[in-house]
């Protein structure tokens, strides 16, 4: 089980809810993935709020925990206010804190992220920060009150997979007791397995499932891949070597000449 701010989580896949072909496909993907946590957002709506209401009811019917995000926020005050509004609606102290610093890469503004974390943590929020793989930033986030870290492995929506395995390895080594969740950049189940084999605790993804030809089946594939990587890390993998080693015993081999 994974402990996230005192909540015990069985599934190590956190799933985003955006960009699915339909609400029915989203619901099926959530079910097939067996995820226990989905991410959601808050947006302006002029139609009396009825679209938001329908989505809210659908998410609640799925029976999973909700992790609201502050996606699209570009500064401390905007992110803090969005987090407070999310808590009002979703009745949870959890917040996936995103403060975007660059339009092209959607990379986090880590300075604003740390500042917003400090404000929100002191207000009782349990912050899941969307951050980079920078160790110093990670330290600052922990000092500011985070008990979970969510580094990207590639820019949001790129499906590029882990671009800097060395940095992710360092992160795992430096923070052995902090839940680490790779958030953003995963494209294929093998990418998810790779980061889980490094000892990461969970993977948060969205586009890789929502944009797949068959999202529900892909969600299930990711669940299996993440579990496989997690099991493999725990079971102790071999290190690669240069020279061959016979797998079949040599002792007792017949000699015919």
């Amino acid at each position: 089980m994974l402990d996230l701010y005192g909540t015990q989580i069985g599934s190590r896949l956190l799933l985003g809810t955006a960009r699915y072909p339909s609400p029915a496909v989203l619901a099926e993907a959530v079910r097939r993935s067996r995820t226990e946590i989905v991410t959601v957002s808050l947006r302006r709506e002029m139609a009396g709020g009825r679209n938001g209401g329908a989505f809210f009811d659908m998410i609640r019917a799925l029976g999973v925990s909700v992790l609201p995000n502050t996606a699209g926020c570009h500064g401390v005050s905007e992110a803090v206010l969005t987090a407070k509004m999310a808590r009002e609606v979703f009745q949870t102290n959890w917040i996936k804190l995103e403060v975007i610093g660059n339009h092209d890469t959607l990379q986090p503004d880590v300075f604003a992220l740390v500042e917003a974390t400090r404000i929100l943590a002191s207000d009782g929020f349990e912050v899941f920060p969307y951050t980079t793989d920078d160790l110093v930033v990670a330290e600052r986030l922990l000092e500011a009150g985070c008990k979970v870290l969510m580094p990207w492995c590639a820019p949001i929506g790129t499906a590029a997979g882990p671009l800097n395995l060395s940095a992710l390895r360092s992160m795992r080594a430096h923070f052995p007791d902090v839940p680490l969740i790779v958030d953003a950049g995963i494209g294929r189940p093998s990418h998810a397995t790779t980061v889980m084999e490094l000892g990461f605790d969970a993977v948060l993804l969205n586009t890789a499932v929502a944009g797949a030809g068959d999202p529900a089946t892909m969600a299930e594939a990711f669940a299996k891949a993440i579990e496989a990587g997690h099991q493999a890390f725990g079971a102790g993998m071999l290190e690669p070597r240069d020279m061959a080693v016979p797998s079949t015993p040599v002792i007792g081999k017949a000699v015919f000449a």
């Binding site: 955006a18 959601v40 808050l42 002029m46 938001g52 209401g53 206010l81 609606v89």
Partner: protein, 65 residues
């Protein structure tokens, strides 16, 4: 009263935030409201008086990653 609602200028007859939501046909427990950059809790909307040129945000749940 002249108000900026979700970024759009509007003229609406409402003196409180609750009245504004009713006038715009917003209803439901899933709404979040802010006035001039400050959260206004659900239970405070009846008493929250509006002023000319207030900036009001009304947010609802949406898909997210």
């Amino acid at each position: 009263m002249r108000l900026i609602i979700n970024g759009e200028p509007e003229t609406i007859a409402a003196t409180t935030l609750s009245q504004l939501l009713a006038a715009l046909a917003y209803e439901g427990e899933w709404l979040a409201t802010a006035v001039n950059g400050e959260l206004v809790h659900r239970e405070d909307r009846d008493d929250h008086l509006l002023n000319d040129n207030d900036r009001i945000e009304i947010l609802t749940p949406m898909q997210g990653g």
